[in-house]
Symmetry: C2
Subunit: 159 residues, 2 copies
DNA sequence: GCTGAAAATTATGCATT
DNA sequence: AATGCATAATTTTCAGC
């Protein structure tokens, strides 16, 4: 589980540095923030081990030829929800999947190399999953803010 | 711009390693993949400099008290689209924003610390933006796959 | 674009406060 | 939890293939 640990402004600044470059050395960060090297290392470890921060690689779909992105709202019959979710998660095109407990809503994002594949997915693949209806979708050529760019407010860091 | 560079299976394996830990040393990765240290460093540099891969920090909203996430579909009058998008991007609650060129669709995700804030956002804040209508939304207590977890197919890497 | 070897930098382990 | 220090590991620089 992810607990609500308490982080301070040094943590916040470290997060900002790591956001620019997750491989930036602890000593470089320490210099930039005028903090102790050893402390910065300890903080990074704590941030990662607490689960509050993940240091990872994010791929640009365009660089790999995935030029079409679509956000889709689905409605699913409750009794077929589990199997529908399982099927959706098997599809590598699905880059995001979230569902509302106690509701029939599933929200997904999917990525494709061309329009034909995307149309096939919307028109054939999704409707063929038992209990699933496409409630709406939006083609999203431009993502202006991505989930990985999200930050809490500075005020969420005590100090 | 992000060009479609060509990457091979070594790049793919390096990406998989960096996904687990963006700070994993190049020598450790080289050992794991039985590749040359220097080569691994060159590849990492190339992946990052080409824009295909970003090495960054991703925060867990829960760890900072943001327990409510909602995916929202909006419809916007074309002539007010630009100003609506600008206003939405100013809101720190909005963790994702994408819009379809030539359509009226805007797709967003937003995060909140409690239900009241979220309801306020859905019921008051969004409708108060000129030209914006909430077309639908889904509360998403469970995100099963996140965008940062997305990977191209191994076949997308030549070799 | 891949690899090698020495120099510089960084990380780790252990200790103290 | 923060820090100092010695040692180990890694990265960088400059080079040749």
């Amino acid at each position: 589980m992810t607990k609500s640990a308490q982080f301070d402004l040094l943590d916040y600044q470290i997060i900002l540095e790591l956001r620019k470059d997750a491989r930036k050395s602890a000593s470089e960060i320490a210099r930039a923030l005028k903090a102790n090297e050893r402390t910065v290392r300890n903080r990074i470890d704590r941030l990662v081990e607490s689960g509050a921060v993940r240091l990872t690689s994010i791929l640009d779909p365009h660089a790999f030829g995935y030029v079409n992105t679509v956000d889709i709202f689905l409605e699913v019959d409750s009794d077929q929800e589990q199997s529908a979710i399982e099927q959706l998660l098997k599809m590598h095109e699905v880059s995001y999947l979230a569902y509302g407990l106690g509701t029939q809503d599933i929200s997904i994002e999917a990525r494709f190399k061309d329009n034909a594949e995307m149309r096939q997915f919307l028109g054939k693949v999704l409707p063929s999953i038992p209990g699933v209806r496409v409630k709406g979708y939006a083609l999203v050529p431009r993502i202006l803010r991505n989930i990985d760019e999200w930050l809490p407010k500075p005020e969420d860091f005590e100090g």
